[in-house]
Amino acid sequence: MLFRFLAALRARTDATLVALLGPLSLCLPLWAHPAPLCPAPQGRSVLQLQPAGDGQAQACDLQALERLPALDITTALPPALGMAGTHRWTGVPLRHLVEQLGGGERSRIVLMALNDYAVVIPWSDLLRYNPVLAYRRDGQRMGIRDKGPLILIYPFDAHPALQQGQDYVNRTIWQVHAVSIR
C-alpha cells in the first residue's frame, strides 16, 4: 500500500518536474549566448562591437546606444586634444559595454578610430575613472567633423591625476568606430 502510494507520488513528481523543466530547458541556449547588446540597426551603424571569445560581431546605431544606460561627465579636456572649454559629455559607460560583451579584468579592450588610430584601455581605468563613450556634447550629437560620432571621455576635472603625463590624452580617442574585447 505504502509502496504503491510512493510510486504514484514519484510518477506525479516526475511529470511535474518534466512539465517545469521542459520549457526552461528551451531557454538554456539563450543563457549560453547573451542577447545582442544592440538590436539590428535601423539607421546608420556607428559602432562595431566584437565580443570576447568567438562571439558574433554586432553593429550599433546611435539610437540603440542611446537606449543603453547613460552617464554624464562635465569636464574640460587637456589642451593637447584641441577641444577647448568645459562641456557636458553624455554617453554609455565603457565598463557597461565591456561587461555586456563578456569582457572583464583579463580582457584586452581595444578601441579603434575611423583613421585607424587604436588604443588599449586597461580594465583598471574602467573601475577607477568610469570613462564614457560619449555620443552627445552639450546635448548635441557630434558629426565626424567634430571628432564624433563617438569619443571616449575621461573625467579629467574630477581626477587631476589624469592630467599628468601623456597616457590619458592618448586614450581619449575620438571618431571611435569599433570596440573589441580580446
Binding site: 575611423l114 583613421n115 548635441q140 558629426g143 564624433g148 592618448n170
Partner: protein, 193 residues
C-alpha cells in the same frame, strides 16, 4: 749609470702621456654626455606624441587622401557605398582642420611652406564641396554636425564626386601636399593616383 737629465726625460714623457690620456678620457666623457643628452631629447619627443608637428600632420593628411582616393575608385567599381565616401571625406576634413592643433602645426607650416599651406587650404575647401555634393545636400556654409550625421548620400551625386576625386587626385593640391610631405620618389607617392 744614467745621468739626471736622462732620468728626467722619461718622467716628462710619462707626464705628457698622462695628460694625453686624461684629455682623451675627458673628450670621451663629453662625447658620451652629448650622445646621452641627444638620446634623452629624442626619447622625450617620442614620448609626447600630442606635440604634433608638421610632419605628423602632413603624414596624416597624406594617409587620409590616399584612403579617399582608394574609396572613390571602390565606389566607381560599386564596391563601396556613397555614405562610406561621405564619412571618409569628413574624416579627411577633420584631419585638415588645424584650428585645435596649436602653433606647431599651423604657424610653422605657413612660415616654412607657404605654398603647401595654401594648397592645403584649397584642399579643405574642395573636400567641403565634395562632401556636400556627395551627401546630396546643398552647399550650406557652416554646415553642422547634426546635418552631416543625418545626411543621406545620393549614389549618382556620389559617383560624380568619386569621378572628380579620381581625376583630381594627381592634380595641384595633391602635388603641393606631396611636396610638403617630402615625397621624393614616385613609388612612395603612388597611393595618390
Amino acid at each position: 749609470m744614467l745621468s739626471p737629465s736622462a732620468k728626467q726625460q722619461p718622467a716628462a714623457s710619462n707626464t705628457r702621456t698622462t695628460h694625453r690620456l686624461l684629455a682623451l678620457v675627458v673628450a670621451m666623457a663629453l662625447g658620451t654626455s652629448a650622445a646621452l643628452w641627444w638620446t634623452l631629447r629624442q626619447a622625450q619627443d617620442l614620448a609626447q606624441p600630442h606635440q604634433q608637428n608638421d610632419l605628423w600632420y602632413i603624414a596624416s593628411v597624406h594617409n587620409e587622401l590616399a584612403r579617399v582616393s582608394l574609396l572613390a575608385r571602390q565606389l566607381r567599381a560599386r564596391e563601396a557605398s556613397a555614405q562610406d565616401l561621405v564619412d571618409r571625406l569628413d574624416v579627411l576634413y577633420s584631419t585638415l582642420d588645424t584650428s585645435g592643433r596649436g602653433p606647431r602645426v599651423s604657424t610653422q607650416l605657413r612660415e616654412a611652406l607657404p605654398d603647401a599651406a595654401q594648397g592645403l587650404d584649397g584642399l579643405r575647401t574642395q573636400v567641403e564641396r565634395w562632401s556636400s555634393q556627395a551627401s546630396g545636400s546643398a552647399n550650406e556654409p557652416g554646415s553642422t554636425a547634426a546635418r552631416r550625421t543625418q545626411a543621406t548620400a545620393t549614389p549618382t551625386q556620389a559617383l560624380r564626386v568619386a569621378e572628380d576625386i579620381t581625376r583630381q587626385s594627381c592634380s595641384a593640391p595633391s602635388r603641393q601636399t606631396r611636396r610638403a610631405s617630402s615625397c621624393t620618389s614616385a613609388s612612395s607617392c603612388s597611393a595618390w593616383c
